[in-house]
Amino acid sequence: MSKPFLSIENLTQTFPDGKGGNLTVFEDASFGVEKGEFVCILGHSGCGKSTIMNILAGLAEPTRGVVKMDGYAVSGPSLDRGVVFQNYSLLPWLSTLKNVTFAVQARFPNWSKAQVTKHATKYLEMVGLHGDVIHRKPSQLSGGMRQRVSIARAFANHPKLLLLDEPFGALDALTRGTIQDELLKIWGGTEQTVFMITHDIDEAILLADRILLMTNGPFARVAESVEITIPRPRTRTQIIEHPNYYAIRNHLVHFLGTRSRELAGKQSGEGAKAPRTVRIDKTTSTEAAEEAPVLRAVND
């Protein structure tokens, strides 16, 4: 069996709990992400999603376990792994354009100034920012525009893996929708591998190829890997018509509502365990689609 492009193996994180003991946030998290795949991770606060993200970005070290990308263990941050932070993390003293050229220059140090500017402008245009706006400071932009800049900055660098840490968490629902569409559009034109944290079930279904579900912490685990069996290209309005949409959605709601709690705190003790793959597809069995039980997990 060949290893996936990104493979997370037996990741465990413990923090001192302040009383002399240790608190295990998550334990033996193991999963893989294929090249070009869009994977979302869903879970309640405190299950260690952000910690996993920081470990993938190389900003934090796990207590145990390894992250391998392209067969090499990840250690420290790298331009190969681009990050879009929840709070945009734009440098407020630079203009919008400079925030992107700053990154492009770091990625392509041999490029001429004109080349860098052209590349940055192109990616800003892809997220709908052009003209006078790109010379403004981030403080003069709305939250949605700032996150667009942050997304453009990440995509412009062609990272092998793009990490999105709740990128739309601080935005209002309408803005969030528009930027999700833009993210889908810009992602569709690339072979970009994306790993994204979110709280929002609908957002995850719209964007992801696969959703990883985490149980509650402490001793959180990546319990399930739900395939999104809705064909692309997807749009917000069309996917809700798809027969699989509510089946998948209900499964996710049910997991986050009750099962994440039931499964929580159980130390598996079995060591590395890949998450259970769940595939919900109502289009293959036409009759079942009409029936009442909406939740139908097909185990492999």
């Binding site: 941050p77 407020p92 990154a103």
Partner: protein, 277 residues
């Protein structure tokens, strides 16, 4: 008054306050009595000689016009133009201040970046900081053996602390997100320092620099009164020895004007490095 802007109204008020206080000052100086009105007894006891008193503003203005129309004359060690004296003071302040900046900003960076350096150096900073800079003067004179260099040293020692502390504080307070942006873009330590940490901490650092230049300008007057020779501080003291209060008042005003100009220069710098989060 409704048709005037806020600034115009403030300017009018400033002018009114100036005119009224100058008028009150002018009126409160008793006129010298003419010799003819004196009694025999008063003339015999020396009442006819002009009394030394606080000069009225009109005299100060005349003095100012006289001095400012020829600020750079040099008629020997005790008689130099106000421009030359202020020039000496500014030269000393800027020399001592620049040396302090060269030490304080890199050291502040180190302290801000490294908790160990912070803890190790903090006791020294806390003990040295509250020492009046003039208290160093005897030691400086003894060790350096040169009054000019001692004055510069005193400026150095008084302007180093606000810059050092503000730099350390600013650098330590740079948001982790911005440092993470530098890390995820694989910026080296030097590039991180110059492209992320320095601009992020610049407003705090420049605030420290502004406080320092203010303190340096306060201290130079006292330092020059001690070391003598040249400078605005020496000028004030020399005119006091000459009992020329008009010159004393004029030089006090000049100290204020130069101090304001120095502060304004740093105000411009502060606005240039400011950013909104």
């Amino acid at each position: 008054m409704g048709s005037f802007s806020l600034n115009q109204r403030a300017a009018i008020w400033s002018l009114v306050i100036l005119v009224v206080s100058l008028f009150v000052w002018e009126m409160s100086i008793p006129a010298q009595q003419a010799a003819g009105e004196l009694t025999e007894y008063e003339r015999l006891t020396g009442g006819g000689r002009p009394k030394a008193g606080v000069p009225p503003p009109s005299q100060v203005l005349v003095k100012a016009w006289e001095q400012l129309s020829n600020p750079f004359y040099d008629a020997g060690p005790n008689d130099k133009g106000i421009g030359i004296q202020i020039g000496y003071s500014i030269y000393r302040v800027l020399t001592g201040y620049s040396l302090a900046a060269l030490v304080a900003i890199p050291l502040g960076f180190l302290i801000g970046m490294s908790p160990v350096a912070y803890k190790a150096l903090n006791p020294f900073i806390q003990v040295l900081r509250p020492i009046s800079p003039l208290a160093w003067m005897p030691l400086a004179l003894f060790i350096i053996q040169d009054s000019e260099a001692s004055a510069i040293f005193v400026i150095f020692i008084c302007s180093i602390w606000p810059m050092l502390i503000n730099t350390a504080f600013g650098v330590a307070g740079v948001r982790a997100d911005w440092v993470n942006v530098a890390r995820t873009h694989e910026l080296g330590p030097l590039r991180t320092a110059f492209t992320v940490i320095l601009p992020a901490a610049a407003p705090t650092i420049v605030t420290g620099m502004r406080i320092s230049i203010g303190i340096a300008w306060l201290v130079i007057v006292a330092a020059e009164m001690l070391v003598g020779g040249t400078g605005i501080g020496y000028y004030v003291w020399n005119e006091w020895n000459n009992l020329d209060l008009t010159s004393v008042i004029f030089s006090i005003l000049m100290i204020g004007v130069v101090g304001m100009a120095l502060d304004a220069a740093f105000g411009v710098l502060q606005r240039a490095v400011a950013y909104v989060e």
